[in-house]
Symmetry: C2
Subunit: 338 residues, 2 copies
Amino acid sequence: MKYDVAVYIGRFQPFHNGHLSVVQRSLEVAQHLLILTGSHLASPDTRNPWSSEEREEMIRAALPANWQKRVSFIPIRDHLYSDNLWLTEIQQKVLEEAGEEARIVLVGHRKDRSSYYLDLFPQWDFLEVPRLEAVHSTAIRDAYFSGSEESNYAAALPAGVADYLTAYQQTGRYQWLRDEADYIKGYRQAWAVAPYAPTFVTTDAIVIQSGHVLVVRRKARPGKGLIALPGGYIQQDETVLEGMLRELREETGLKVPKPVLQGSIVENRVFDAPQRSQRGRIITHAFCIHLKPGPLPSVRGGDDAEKAWWMSLADLYAHEDQFFEDHFQIIQHFVSRT
Amino acid sequence: MKYDVAVYIGRFQPFHNGHLSVVQRSLEVAQHLLILTGSHLASPDTRNPWSSEEREEMIRAALPANWQKRVSFIPIRDHLYSDNLWLTEIQQKVLEEAGEEARIVLVGHRKDRSSYYLDLFPQWDFLEVPRLEAVHSTAIRDAYFSGSEESNYAAALPAGVADYLTAYQQTGRYQWLRDEADYIKGYRQAWAVAPYAPTFVTTDAIVIQSGHVLVVRRKARPGKGLIALPGGYIQQDETVLEGMLRELREETGLKVPKPVLQGSIVENRVFDAPQRSQRGRIITHAFCIHLKPGPLPSVRGGDDAEKAWWMSLADLYAHEDQFFEDHFQIIQHFVSRT
Ligand SMILES: Nc1ncnc2c1ncn2[C@@H]1O[C@H](COP(=O)(O)OP(=O)(O)OC[C@H]2O[C@@H](O)[C@H](O)[C@@H]2O)[C@@H](O)[C@H]1O
Ligand SMILES: Nc1ncnc2c1ncn2[C@@H]1O[C@H](COP(=O)(O)OP(=O)(O)OC[C@H]2O[C@@H](O)[C@H](O)[C@@H]2O)[C@@H](O)[C@H]1O
């Protein structure tokens, strides 16, 4: 074998026959395969329905017995706003598994629109693998979450994965994802009449005081029940700053006077990853507000928020997988700068 | 008389009977009236069709002979992004006309949604004047630019103004404004089907080198023929940074390599005044790119731009009244910071 270790990066939502053929090809050139499952600890949505653990279970169910020992799994977080953070995580975790001396090859399809990242690993060899043209995870998920009895989502899936997904349809989480999928579909359809694909504009407030961040629990879809930053769509006659202050007060009832809030803004930044929301293109203007140390001001839920509360930083990191869209990453961006 | 000078701030696009009654009331309490015509040197659009000079002519045509000497005009620029710049301009110009000792009263309607600015003059008395409820400049302009023969735009206008507007219909500028009005109306109608009023997102590049700014002449409506920054609507799959670089190259053919452009960004800022565009709510992400001194890189028009060229700063200030939307103010913001 030419290589000690092959590295295969993907989301595998879900793992299909195209992925399986890449695994097979990898095991022809390398002793061992590391499958890097992306979007680790992202809260579930219809694009990333299954956790890293669920995906490992699903993929193992698809692998023949004699491959099992030659394959291991490394979950990797998304870092939508920093390739360097993402590369650090991959480099460190692969080094830990493969060791300093390993001859490593990265496998993938360079023709893929989303695969510009393959050039980010000059230190490894690269193996271009053929691609099953007709098989796409997106189409499989659409069929699976459409809820239609006739939907043939299993056609391109290994039997083990198909069985896993069929059993999964009995879970409460499947029902939750179906409801989310319906909401998203309805939202996109409502906008399909627009003359150009719309771009939406929202604001978010990251209010930090004495090691606590002000968060809300979402009352409505999408992301019903998830933890989020206070924020929302801007209105026609307000600036982004005004919109942020309005949503903050509506959703949390925070009693700090407006001039104090405004005077406590330490940074603002635009978060514009094209895939950050399932509803369509949403660009958010985030403002970090640093309040003086002292007793935490009282807050309450309201409007679109079931409740609002001050979350300790320790709690925050313990609940990474429950944050709406990219809100965990947005908070992380500001927390690490102050 | 209680006051030496009354100050009346407005846009007067056009001056109507409601304005006339305020002038009359002002001359009952003050020896002299200063009419401050806002949006001075803004390029013409259907919201600000007439220059300060045209408005002075129009208003004088509406005033009885015995008032003429008691009224003078002060044109005031818009400063959408700085109340302080706007206040400086007003304070300085009023002081120059009225002198240090004058007893000054500000006249206006506090109930007006757009009149929060009346509180910005604590040094002057304030006189609340009654408002003719049925008369609105917006409705008058809509009727005037609709081009319909039956449109009764003149009903609420002093005879002198009505005559002025009727004669103005023979000018080329009137035709240009009518075409702009048609375009804007069509654009807004195309979006009227959307489930919520849309917010649009655009980018702009302010490329500065050795005392020159890179600008384009607009080929299409709105603002056909006006000078503008290279910029445009962002696409669904690009970040605002990528969108800015794409539009910059499409519209100017600037040959500087992308990494150099990106590495030369000195500042970026969101410009989000709710009224900055006639098409609807448009928020623009502006990037200031500072290139190293040296021969100006060659540029050419393309796409939506008739031509692109390097404008000297002296030229820039001489052409303030030809800049599209708030682009002059955006350039000014960045120019004064580097
Ligand atoms: N395109 C739209 N424009 C304006 N209002 C809208 C739109 N779409 C929905 N709404 C209204 O806003 C309500 C949603 O509440 P918000 O608090 O305004 O928005 P939210 O669902 O919280 O979305 C904003 C959140 O999305 C994230 O991408 C972003 O970071 C922000 O936190 C909906 O119920 C609806 O009434
Ligand atoms: N809402 C929209 N979304 C996407 N594309 C659009 C939209 N509306 C129009 N277009 C397309 O974009 C073309 C306009 O060209 P651009 O260069 O993209 O935009 P422009 O007209 O220059 O407007 C952007 C300019 O407006 C200013 O508010 C802003 O500062 C920026 O300079 C139109 O002819 C049309 O094809």
